[in-house]
């Protein structure tokens, strides 16, 4: 086990289930024997605002928030929020983004435009970028609601954590009747 702390940022829009995804991540890291800290802001941000969840694991973790510019992996659940959070990432960091656009209020009202070139702009700065359509892949796995689990599957391939810990965490955090479809969704994500 390396002494180095790994920094993961989960970003998106309030209501997307980001907090649950970060709980599954933290549980996995604890089961794998690491020290873990995670932090996010509840409250106002749940009403459709931007959400950033910080998850850190390693031999010993101090700060519960990822120091600015030290994120190893930006795990984006929505494109604009992924782009907005790029300054949190270290140079050469990895971006794993869900190809989903959720219009903020000014775009809904026709006063601003949702930029259509965000994937290119992200890729330009962070060549190690993976873009995947979580929603579509989740439907293939059997349930659109398992989109976040697809994304977790894709993330799992980029971390050195044994499969058994991921599945144990899913078993603990996901309701029994949704477990099978979530396992399928997780494996779907691992194809990326």
């Amino acid at each position: 086990m390396s002494d180095r702390v790994t920094n993961i940022l989960l970003v998106g829009v309030g209501g997307q289930g980001i907090l649950l995804a970060s709980e599954v991540l933290s549980e996995t890291f604890m089961l794998a024997g690491y020290d873990v800290k995670k932090s996010e802001i509840h409250g106002m941000s749940q009403r459709g605002g931007s959400v950033v969840s910080h998850v850190r694991y390693g031999k010993e973790v101090f700060s519960p928030i990822v120091p600015e510019g030290e994120g190893d992996i930006l795990f984006g659940f929505e494109l604009m929020e992924t782009y907005r959070s790029l300054p949190l990432l270290r140079a050469g960091g990895t971006v794993l983004a869900n190809d989903l656009r959720i219009a903020p209020p000014s775009v809904l009202m026709g006063q601003a435009v949702y930029p259509d070139d965000l994937p290119e702009r992200i890729k330009q700065r962070f060549p190690d970028m993976v873009l995947l359509d979580g929603q579509h892949l989740a439907i293939e796995a059997g349930d659109a609601r398992a989109a976040n689990t697809v994304l977790l599957g894709a993330l799992s391939k980029r971390l050195d954590i044994g499969d058994e810990f991921w599945f144990k965490a899913l078993e603990k955090m996901v309701p029994p009747k949704a477990l099978e479809v979530n396992k399928r969704a997780f494996l779907k994500g691992r194809e990326f």
């Binding site: 309030g14 604890m30 026709g110």
Partner: protein, 587 residues
């Protein structure tokens, strides 16, 4: 056994392990989840109080009765509970009493960022400050013990980062053998008339001296010597940032931030070359260290405002920041918004149309301030909407007086708004009050309240009848409207605004997030008929997240509205705004 717990979950666990019997609170971010987790331990009688003063007094009663009692609130809640708190310092306790103050540096969900460590000093009571979830649990247990040992309430201070961060906690079994609660007469200690209070005050002063002396040998106050050229006194989440950014620095980590361990601070100051205090908000520790005659650096490096982060600490110590990759500006912001189908939305649309001057209050509906609704003109604190309306109306000529409307939620009304309404009725101030009764304390995450008909422990309860309550305090004109019926609501508000007497309008539709069966029912979604929509944008004026403007393909300013059927709850408000009949309920 170990689990990943948030600071709030760990405090609940700590109360359980400490044998706490009663827990009382008013919800407030970032403290709310403490009591929501206490209910998992059925040994504890946990309840929501109408406000923080009541919550603390319930805990005081339980303590006087001989039981360990927990009371939790957000930082501004302590302002409401300050009256009993200061005298509780004099009476002391029977069963241990712990008051959690969850502060919110950076104001993630608050109207100010007051530093409640000042309350501990002001009220002359000890305060512990945990730095992670393990300490949240352990310090809660310790706080109960100190409370009984020193005959004092103990404050446990968290911040948003401590309350809402998760880390690994080792669980323990609860203590056993605590004395059974019983009635014990001890008027000299518990009846705070001047004669008794004059005897208790010297006890308080002497107690704080004893605590200060003991603090230097408490294991929660810990010196760790590393490189002695830099020594940092710190506590709470700031300690974690210090260890992250300045791993070689020597530290004095304070688990108790009031009273300070003076001997330990002197010893640490002598061991290091340059002494710093790293703390968020006020120079609370720094000022006291300076008063001890010790040279120390603190707020000349660190901000008085906002929360600390590793990056900000790095800048303060002139360490080069990690390279960050800036993004182009001009991204549309993503502020929070009222939910699709929220019963408040139409009311704020109408208040804007009626050119009302709106005194607001604390809750989801404070979002009525944001565009496109733009319908809030003041917001100070819990309950202030009605009393500030009452004050404004007193100084205005009648035609402007009529425009003053207070808006307040059901939970906030019962918190402190009821006192303000009594003032308005008693002094016959002709302003209008709208009680946005959505049957829940929504902003903090749907907690029950005395008007919801349910308790925190899940029991049914008689709901407060808001109409009768308003009548009882002397308001003659009270009417109830369906806020999803814009015409009826507009008529009701306009008529009451014109009335030269105090009046109340109560809206009666529930929060769309309530999950309890039979309260909120989702209707069939609506859709825009493209052929009928003229692109007039009238439906966009309510700012519903389910309605989107879709520009025409030709790049012109033309376009049509679109309703997302997955988000639409079928509230019908947008249909009422469409004069062309383009919005229809889907079958």
């Amino acid at each position: 056994m170990k689990e990943i717990l948030s600071g709030n979950e760990a405090i609940a666990r700590g109360a359980y392990e400490a044998g706490c019997r009663v827990a009382s609170a008013y919800p407030g971010t970032p403290s709310t989840e403490i009591l929501e987790n206490v209910i998992h331990y059925r040994e504890i009688n946990a309840s929501w109080a109408p406000n923080e003063k009541v919550a603390l007094e319930v805990a005081i009663g339980a303590s006087f009765g001989g039981a360990r009692a927990l009371c939790t609130m957000k930082h501004v809640g302590v302002n409401v509970a300050a009256d009993p708190l200061f005298t509780l310092s004099y009476t002391g306790v029977n069963g241990g009493l712990v008051l959690v103050s969850a502060d919110d540096p950076e104001m993630h969900s608050s109207q100010n960022e007051q530093d409640n460590r000042n309350y501990a000093k002001f009220a002359k009571i000890p305060m512990l400050e945990p730095a992670d979830s393990q300490e949240c649990k352990d310090f809660t247990r310790l706080a109960f013990e100190l409370s009984e040992q020193y005959d004092t309430p103990v404050m446990l201070r968290t911040t948003t980062r401590i309350s809402h961060s998760k880390s690994i906690v080792q669980l323990e079994e609860p203590v056993t053998g605590l004395p059974e609660p019983a009635l014990v007469k001890n008027a000299a200690k518990l009846v705070m008339l001047p004669g008794n209070a004059r005897i208790r005050h010297p006890f308080v002063e002497e107690r704080m001296v004893r605590l200060s002396e003991a603090a230097s040998t408490m294991s929660i106050n810990q010196i760790e010597l590393r490189d002695t050229s830099i020594g940092i006194i710190t506590s709470g989440t700031s300690f974690q940032y210090v260890r992250e950014v300045l791993p070689q620095a020597s530290t004095l980590k304070l688990g108790m931030v009031h009273p300070l361990p003076t001997d330990l601070i002197c010893q640490f100051a002598e061991s290091v070359t340059t002494l710093y205090v790293v703390e968020e908000l006020d120079p609370f520790i720094e000022d006291q260290v300076k008063a001890m005659g010790i040279a120390v650096k603190g707020k000349e490096l660190l901000s008085l405002c906002g929360e600390l982060t590793p990056g900000r600490l790095r800048l303060s110590f002139h360490l080069s920041p990690e390279g960050t990759t800036p993004v182009d500006g001009g991204l549309p912001p993503r502020p929070p918004n009222m939910c699709p189908g929220c019963p408040h939305r139409g009311v704020f649309y109408l208040l804007n149309q009626l050119k009302a001057y709106v005194t607001g209050d604390i809750g989801c509906y404070t979002l009525g301030f944001l565009p496109p609704l733009n319908a809030m003109d003041t917001c100070v604190c819990m309950g202030a909407s009605i009393s500030t309306a009452s004050g404004i109306a007193r100084v205005l000529p009648p035609e402007q007086q009529q425009r003053v409307v207070a808006v307040i939620g059901d939970s906030t009304f019962l918190h402190t708004g009821i006192n303000s309404l009594m003032d308005m009725a008693y002094n016959q101030v002709p302003a209008t009050v709208i009680i946005l009764d959505n049957r829940i304390t929504a902003m903090t995450g749907r907690q029950d309240n005395p008007a919801s008909g349910h308790t925190l422990m899940g029991a049914s309860s008689d709901a407060v009848d808001l109409t009768q309550l308003c009548h009882a305090v002397g308001i003659k004109h009270v009417r109830t409207v369906n806020p999803l019926d814009l015409a009826a609501t507009r008529t009701a508000i306009a008529e009451e605004m014109a009335r030269p007497e105090p009046s109340v309008v109560i809206t009666n539709k529930p929060c769309v997030l309530i999950k309890r069966e039979g309260v909120f029912t989702r209707g069939a979604a609506y859709a825009v008929e493209c052929g009928v929509c003229t692109g007039c944008r009238a439906c966009l004026k309510i700012g519903c997240p389910a309605i989107e403007w879709r520009p025409a393909d030709d790049g012109s300013k033309k376009g049509k509205a679109y309703i997302d059927p997955l988000l639409c709850t079928g509230c019908d408000v947008c249909r009422q705004l469409c004069t062309f009949g383009a919005i229809r309920r889907m079958s």
